[in-house]
Symmetry: C2
Subunit: 349 residues, 2 copies
Amino acid sequence: MLATIIHGEKDIRLEEVPNPVLSSGGDAIVKVVAACVCGSDLWPYRGITPTDSPKRIGHEFVGIVESVGPDVSTVKPGDFVIAPFYDCDMTCANCLNGVSTSCLHGGWWGSDDRLGGFADGAQGERVRVPHADGSLVATPGQPEAELVPSLLTLADVMGTGHHAAVSAGVTAGSTVVVVGDGAVGLCGVLAAKRLGATRIVAMSRHADRQALALEFGATDIVEERGAEGIARIKELFDGIGPDCVLECVGTTESMDQALRSVRPGGMVGYVGVPNGGAELPIGFMFSNNVGANGGVAPVRNYIEELLPEVLSGAINPGRVFDLELPLAEVAEAYAAMDERRAIKVLLRP
Amino acid sequence: MLATIIHGEKDIRLEEVPNPVLSSGGDAIVKVVAACVCGSDLWPYRGITPTDSPKRIGHEFVGIVESVGPDVSTVKPGDFVIAPFYDCDMTCANCLNGVSTSCLHGGWWGSDDRLGGFADGAQGERVRVPHADGSLVATPGQPEAELVPSLLTLADVMGTGHHAAVSAGVTAGSTVVVVGDGAVGLCGVLAAKRLGATRIVAMSRHADRQALALEFGATDIVEERGAEGIARIKELFDGIGPDCVLECVGTTESMDQALRSVRPGGMVGYVGVPNGGAELPIGFMFSNNVGANGGVAPVRNYIEELLPEVLSGAINPGRVFDLELPLAEVAEAYAAMDERRAIKVLLRP
């Protein structure tokens, strides 16, 4: 089958690889219907995370189950399924605590799973899914084609934006600022809205992203950054700041923006993969009672909550996909995201 | 009147100072009934925080109102009052948000308040209290003498232990570890118990503190520290750790102990004044979804919740005072705490 391999900086190739096979009783083989490129895929693409040897890439997909091992009971061939950006058993203590990203037996796509077998990257035609009973969620029946993009966001960005909002403690009546206007930040706006936030500021300098933020429920847009951005945010919230800030980037600057924007006693929910090198400033946080909560989002735990709203059309997070390409053009998909010509690119094998 | 002055490392003196006078319409003058020495007073006592010139010290007291300015309406001469370890107006946006330590107009005992006037330190005979309507809480009638120690803990350590528990998200059924067996840590045990925690581990190596922790509701004692301490805690909680850890010390080692003991998805509530120099390790926290929340405890916001239980005897946090001395022996009070001969010393002018 065909799958995407990253060879190095800005070197993305679609290549022939062996078809995956069922290698444990709990596996499923899923034929990919739609995959996509993640902001975090751009770190190796840009060479910031070095790629020592060619490797499979991609971790977001939805698809149709082709076959399952003898121990699989919750999904069957023909089911349309959503996979989180990792595999997990949903039976260990961490999964049951709502933190399936810390599954004691799980793993990451495109690498050996924690049982030692290779699980395919998602930017390909098929994926071997370990712990299929835990990892996969089947939709009731076959979804309408126009729902596929929104269903695909449950694999990562919508669940991740939701995690930022939940981690920041967003609830009915909260005031919220979202740092980051990528797909996750925009989904954070949508998540804050559905959790009942009454005022949501999206920090963005791009007209197309600002428009989508407003469509998703943002009430204000702030274009300033750094000290000016913090001052503008404070000004919008009685001089003290909002209850919650969603940090959806992962740089030192964006985290600083988040921590210094939130009001005393407020909470920063962060989901941006930390890439800045700076630790969290405990002295500032202590003096101002500013908390930090979040991490790698346990999106699998959120699928049951979010899926009905996607199916009913109550939320439409798939709007973050502003470019759709065949898998054959995966290199162009990376380039479009890298050059900010697209917010997020959907790939169809 | 007499008041305590710190002159430098291990140099505590009781000296004659001018009586305080009402200097704003919102002031009260309070005659101190009981004060105490705080763990944080030991930082300058030990010379870790340098004392450049002699200064007033002490920030925890209860007393009787002697006089009030014309704008004061909630307390009157003769009232028995509890003061938090700072002054605050309880009307600004931060106070109303529950974060009176970030009062826009408040200040700290023993220094100029944020209006520019000097507010006395608490280890003396009288204190000028700015924003008396906000800062002070009067008890209904005159409390029984035996309640005074527990009422005094509402000025700091009980409210601070409670803040650690609230910040860590302790609720009915939570599993909790408390790092630190000083008065705040012990009050953290008591706070976790009253919030409904079902299992509470106190980390302590001192028999007297272990005994009090057990009296306050601890279910387990762990004497190990560092890597052994973390391993022992993990072992006690299914190999993954407790839901909540209360960090009540403030060193790099104690925070590390807390962050690496809590389970994935858990929360560290921290109230130890950060003195270690290390920032919070965002990479570890992100990977494990470990949050950190807390800071300088807004104890004034908690007095209304905790006071009825102190008055009824439902909780008896005053048990942390294991030595009582006249104010004249304040230097011995510091020495006893410094040498760990006492958990916490109560002073009576």
